[in-house]
Amino acid sequence: MTKSAENPVLDPFEAALGVSDVKGRSPWEDAWHRLLKNRAAVYSAFIMAFIILLVIFGPMLISWESDFTDWDYTSSRPSIESGHWFGTDAVGRDILVRTLEGGRISLLVGLVATIVSLVIGVGYGATAGYFGGAADRLMMRAVDIIYALPFMFIVVLLMVVFGRHIVLIFVAIGAFNWLDMARIVRGQTLSLKNTEFIEAARACGVGDWAIIRRHIIPNLLGVVMVYVTLTIPQVILVESFLSFLGLGVQEPMSSWGALVSDGAQDMESAPWTLIVPSVFLTVTLYCFNYIGDGLRDALDPKDRL
């Protein structure tokens, strides 16, 4: 009954309702409840957490090294006795360990490239949307121009020109993926900046950058979160696409795309070399897409696809 002591006006209503502490639910709590009701998203989140833990800690728990070649068991099928639970590839390397270590690279690329595109996209979009006018037109025209470039081909071109370095993969993918983010953030900012609370902040003499940082960006979080969850699988896909073509990460490093490519070479004699990394890659992409869908439904109930 502490609250009623502070605020006696509410008391009759609370008494009438038969509750003592009426707690309001913030939009974030609402969204959280909606998200928890979405079973596909919740299961996906659990599976994803499991895969991430497996990828991080799995290789430490398995006695095989990823580059150890077991000449007694080349292209051996999955079995418990040999100790290679998911089989080995053509030179006797354990598929499970290789897949888990490849997963580290795939997930890392997904995360880092998404962060790159997040930082550029939010900064660019919020600035263009907030200042508007000529600056906005110019900035968005630039986005339009870059947007029309055949992204995949330019990334391949970059790989050809600068060699296949993993940092370059992060940068190249991130450098193109921020465009969508910038467009979405700009649109949201445009509609936000005419709201009363922004006007109030401006009337109080808050500076432009402080308004962007303290009021605009926090209000963009919902959209951005949805978009980040949907960008991660896209980036993982692009990286595995490159690696599949032999233009991504190089031996001895590996990623799911490179492993699928290796597996496709040997699939007639050793189908497990194709199936194991494919399943990991697919399940990951599937989960991220479902989580992103769930978040979108939860955070923005208007826009359901």
Partner: protein
């Protein structure tokens, strides 16, 4: 139609707006190749200096960079991509002319398949919204979006070609048998995406007032859908066709490689691995132009179909 003059003006403006994009594409491609380490003639054998000078003169590598750039832009404007660095005796134009028809055949078939199957599945799901049919169709659509085509392709080859032996595992001779697997694989992600788009917009349209009016007039449901709901529901699909083409072109690179199809994508990857700069650059620019122009056409069709669009509006 009063709108027509506005539309013409809008189209011309958009057409002019393409020029900076195209120029940017050519510039990026040109300077990327210039800063690339290693020239095209760094082969195992060291060439005598006279030969190297001759080669440089032949490919204009002895001129100042800026002059080379303007020469290149002029060349591209005349749609001449120059000689291939790797396939001697071939120009890039000849390589494109030889291989693009193959890619176009596969791509167009996949596009048509994706459009019809995708919209049909989307409409079916929308009409049975929140039933088991809807959920399973959308589950499959999510699967189609999530499974990369370089995973689907080997699996299909393994099942239908290697184990069942119904279809060839790869190769190309312009017959249907060689087209089935590549076309299906290439169209799956687009089918999934179009089905989801169609379902979403169809549900929205079916809940709108003019559909309620049409139903209230006593029209049979099939007429309501065909005559009234279909066109507005397909608008988002039309605008998706631009990005879909781009996605299909990059998808075709993988598909052609997996199925050993001698299309432009195969040459592109081979060129990238061989450091055949002129070929890679030529394909990037060719496909870039294609995507940019197709996007432009899709925008026009969209504007033409959508009664709500305003021409003076800046996006």
């Amino acid at each position: 139609m009063i709108q027509d003059s506005g539309m013409l003006k809008h189209s011309l403006q958009r057409l002019l707006g393409l020029i900076p994009t195209l120029l940017m594409l050519v510039t990026v491609a040109f300077f990327l190749i210039r800063v690339a380490p290693g020239g095209p003639f760094d082969s195992e054998k060291l060439l005598p200096p006279e030969v190297e000078a001759n080669l440089s003169a032949r490919y204009h590598l002895d001129e100042p960079v800026l002059q080379q750039y303007f020469r290149y832009v002029g060349q591209i404007a005349a749609l001449d991509f120059g000689p291939s660095y790797h396939y001697k005796d071939w120009t890039v134009n000849e390589l494109i002319a030889q291989s693009f028809p193959v890619s176009l055949t596969v791509g167009l078939s996949a596009m048509v398949l994706a459009f019809f199957v995708g919209t049909l599945l989307g409409i079916a799901a929308a009409l049975r919204q929140n039933t088991r049919t809807d959920y399973s169709l959308m589950g499959f659509a999510m699967l189609g979006m999530s499974v990369p085509n370089f995973v689907i392709a080997p699996v299909l080859i393994l099942l239908l070609a290697v184990y069942a032996g119904w279809l060839p595992a790869g190769g190309w001779d312009w017959s249907i048998a060689y087209m089935v697997l590549p076309v299906i694989t290439l169209s799956l992600p687009a089918i999934a995406y179009i089905a989801r788009l169609t379902r979403g917009s169809m549900i929205e349209v079916l809940n709108s007032n003019f559909i309620r009016t049409a139903r209230a007039k006593g029209l049979p449901e099939s007429t309501v859908i065909r005559r009234h709901a279909l066109r507005p529901a397909l608008l988002p699909v039309i605008s998706f066709l631009g990005p879909a083409t781009a996605a299909m072109i990059s998808g075709s690179v993988v598909i052609e490689r997996i199925f050993s199809i001698p299309g432009l994508g195969s040459y592109f990857v081979q060129g990238a691995l061989n450091r055949d700069y002129t070929l890679v650059m030529g394909v990037v620019i060719f496909y870039g132009f294609l995507i940019i122009i197709l996007n432009f056409l899709v925008d026009l069709v969209y504007a033409w179909l959508n009664p709500k669009i305003r021409y003076d509006e800046k996006r």
